[in-house]
């Protein structure tokens, strides 16, 4: 009996362990840390589809015609309702995260 269990249970357990999914639905890892090393080389270049690659260092949310928080109360609500749905201007440039010092140190020539 013991031999039978050993012959069946152990391989089954092994199969379950091996076939267990390594992850469920990951993909939230920041790609920029890896991509940034390569993308940082592209800053200043023009892409084939047009538009220059520029580094972004800060971003502030914009609403309608003002910076968030400047418009409040009923006037702000009305302005928002009027403006919502209208097309927004957007840069043709491609903005990427400026590389961190650690990423920058991974690029370039070694002495």
């Amino acid at each position: 009996m013991k031999k039978l269990i050993q012959k069946i249970v152990v391989p089954v357990a092994l199969i379950i362990a091996v076939s267990a999914p390594p992850v469920f639905a990951d993909g939230s890892v920041q790609h920029a840390s890896k991509a940034g090393v390569h993308a940082s080389k592209a800053i200043g270049h023009t892409l084939a589809a047009g538009g220059k690659v520029v580094g972004g260092v800060a971003a502030v949310p914009l609403i309608a015609v003002g910076i968030i928080g400047e418009i409040s109360g009923k006037a702000g609500e009305e302005l928002w309702q009027q403006a919502s749905g209208e097309p927004l201007p957007i840069t043709d440039e491609t903005v990427i995260s400026a590389p961190t010092p650690a990423q920058a140190m991974k690029t370039g020539r070694e002495i």
């Binding site: 390594p22 992850v23 639905a25 790609h31 920029a32 890896k34 991509a35 972004g56 971003a59 400026a98």
Partner: protein, 279 residues
């Protein structure tokens, strides 16, 4: 019997050790300059689509792994907010565009996460497939969401303890989609009370069941730092996904548009609208 159990334990340890290398395959493929051009084209097309629709804020997802590797019901692997912003460039200019607000899993410590603001090209960098689910909230909800993002509530809602299958009804662990749901409901209910947010989520949000055997799930939690079942109850595993958030927003009239964008065969943008139970 003890010898049998010991044998079984050793077998499992060996099996676990032998397969931990698979976890490393989660790493996104290294992006080359050639791929950057393709990713940048797609990201810019997405930005233009959002801008054309006048979206100040949208919920955007990406596909980081082949569909065949995802459990049933999962279509995307990461979700963040795209926020229409004034961007300061490294050469000192300001330009209009979208910034991405993300909860990212820490690359060095997989059981932890960070809040990171980056840009659409960074967001899509290293994806498996250039395809994205998009939800544009109603104008009123956009306004409320922007208020949350501009306040301390946004950071207060972040739970640094990460689990890729975090239970959206439990505040102990969080993944990117649970964070999106928490921020979304903080805007809807205009509160930063996490207990109230979880209570309301339990009442109105339908989570995605993770269809995997309990034993497999338990072994996966032993093998992977970013999987824990401590916040799961009653034998079933459930989590928030882009799709279940889209369904929730559709059901309660919180979105004005839901669609999927994908890179077409000729490099153009293909758009598919969906409202219920798709994506």
């Amino acid at each position: 019997m003890n010898r049998l159990l010991a044998s079984l334990a050793i077998t499992l340890v060996v099996a676990v050790s032998a397969t931990t290398g698979q976890a490393a395959s989660r790493q996104a493929p290294v992006q080359t300059v050639l791929e950057l051009d393709r990713v940048a084209t797609f990201a810019k097309m997405l930005e233009r689509e959002l801008a054309a629709r006048g979206a100040r804020i949208a919920i955007v997802s990406r596909v980081g792994r082949p569909q065949g590797e995802l459990p049933p019901g999962f279509r995307y692997t990461h979700t963040g907010f795209a926020v229409y912003s004034e961007i300061t460039t490294s050469d000192g200019r300001t330009v209009p565009g979208y910034a991405m607000y993300n909860l990212y899993q820490d690359a060095e410590r997989l059981d932890a996460s960070n809040l990171v603001t980056d840009y659409p090209v960074d967001f899509f960098g290293g994806v498996f497939e250039l395809r994205s689910g998009v939800i544009i909230p109603t104008p009123q909800l956009q306004q409320r969401l922007l208020r949350v993002l501009g306040s301390h509530t946004y950071r207060d809602l972040h739970v640094a303890d990460y689990s890729s299958v975090a239970n959206p009804f439990d505040a102990r662990f969080q993944n990117c989609t649970e964070f999106i749901l928490d921020v979304l409901n903080a805007a809807v209910y205009e509160t930063d009370d996490m207990a109230l947010l979880k209570s309301n989520a339990r009442a109105y949000f339908d989570a995605q069941p993770v269809k995997v055997g309990r034993l497999k799930a338990r072994i996966a939690s032993w093998r992977n730092d970013d999987i824990t079942l401590k916040d799961q109850k009653g034998g079933k595993i459930e989590t928030a996904t882009f799709t279940t958030i889209a369904q929730y927003m559709d059901k309660y009239g919180l979105s004005q548009a839901q669609f999927e964008l994908a890179e077409g065969v000729d490099g153009d943008l293909a758009s598919v609208s969906f409202s219920r139970a798709s994506g």
